[in-house]
């Protein structure tokens, strides 16, 4: 692998250098506009390489293309943050359920039919006016798929993974959430098999809402802890 230029360079320069070298390393033509883009850079031929492997594995009888369709469909339509939102709405509406959820997240989530891969050991963290919980995986991208779906890019990215533990207040500010000094922030680094879900605070003015209406207010970001749930009037922009 080629090395960046000799001499002291800072990390930003190093990252830029790595990005600039990437097209050569991958043997592909990199589009200029990608270099000015904040997203991680993907060699142009990755789509072709994935397609080639898929057709090879189909021809070899190793995969069934209809099964691939079903997996994609499951993660696009069934396994997503609407599931977690139902858990939160139930907890807001039913205090006995809320107690069970906080005592044994795995069992309480299973009551609503959610569980399986990456939710084997669920712990639910309750936000209060004095305690705000934030979930991260600094080592990889551990995330409770059955209740939140696959993690968004920012959750898996170097900026979030690196800074959530050392500067949670700065990270939350970047998400537009400024918490007072009197609020305690607890960051949960998912370093083992436990997967965390934040139970956000129920917004004011929602006493008359049904469980379905409450669920509609709950966002993925609030269940990771980078946002609060907004009252109905302000929702819709989030």
């Amino acid at each position: 692998m080629s090395k960046p230029a000799e001499g002291p360079i800072d990390r930003r320069e190093f990252l830029k250098g790595a990005a600039a070298l990437a097209p050569q390393a991958a043997g592909t033509q990199q589009q200029d506009d990608h270099l000015h883009h904040d997203h991680q850079i993907v060699p142009a031929d990755i789509a072709l390489r994935v397609k080639a492997l898929e057709s090879l594995l189909i021809e070899k009888g190793m995969v069934d293309p209809a099964a691939l369709d079903a997996v994609v469909d499951a993660y696009e339509r069934k396994i997503g943050p609407r599931n977690g939102a139902r858990v939160v709405a139930r907890a807001w509406s039913d205090s006995a359920y809320r107690r069970r959820l906080l005592a044994d997240g795995t069992a309480a989530v299973a009551e609503l039919g959610y569980g399986g891969s990456q939710a084997e050991h669920m712990v639910v963290l309750e936000n209060t006016p004095k305690v705000h919980n934030l979930v991260v995986c600094t080592l990889c991208s551990c995330y409770p798929w059955p209740v939140l779906g696959l993690p968004p890019t920012w959750y898996k990215s170097a900026p979030y993974r690196s800074r959530a533990v050392i500067d949670p207040r700065g990270v939350l500010k970047e998400f537009g959430l400024e918490l007072g000094e009197d609020v305690e922030i607890r960051v949960w680094d998912s370093t083992a098999d436990v997967r965390y879900l934040v139970l956000p605070e129920r917004p004011a003015g929602t006493d008359n809402l049904s469980e379905d209406e409450l669920a509609a207010l709950v966002t993925r970001d609030a269940m990771v802890g980078v946002a609060n749930v907004l009252p109905p009037r302000k929702a819709g922009t989030a």
Binding site: A66, Y75, R186, A192
Partner: protein, 222 residues
Amino acid sequence: MNGIHDMGGMQDMGPIDYDPHEPVFHETWEGRAWALMRTTGGFGPARRRNFRYELEILPPADYLRMSYYERFFKTLVDRLLSGNAITQTELDSGHPDAGSPRATPPVTPAVVDAQLARRGSLRRDDVHVKPRFKIGQHVRARNMNPVGHTRLPRYVRARRGTIVRDHGVFNLQDTNADGYTLGPKPQHVYTVRFSARELWGDHVSVRDSVCADLWEDYLEHA
């Protein structure tokens, strides 16, 4: 391994790139690569390296440059090749070698839901291991720098914390330098709370803390 993946506490990685309308898969290939990952578990080498370790040994510049799905796709291809499930010639040509055996797909649409719902826990409810630590006890994360895979992040090593939960007995995930498990070594996993000041110094909020889930082998009495 003190690799680039162990990012907790690093700075200068830039702003968080937030897209409020992000789709589950940005492009078709991401979904297909993900689906291939989830349906080819039955193929590959009989003796498996830790899959996270396979991602962690990517050269640091590549690790930072590649997207999540690209990293997974690379490890999938490497796994299929090293297990002789496919050959390099097949990968290059996109077609099966002449005379290569034809398999029957193990994952059909009918079993996808069951496959995705399958629990993959390392918890060992079958063994009884006495915990060394109790909730409320002060502990110190060991100062160790293993060359294989470990789940003890650098930023907590040699720091003092308090046990706040005991999650029961789990197999240790740590590996040797080749990525193979050091053995199941069932032991308790605890949530350990570290004050932000213990980790980062006096300029951070006295109220804040970071909790990490740590295997007993990572901890000593403080």
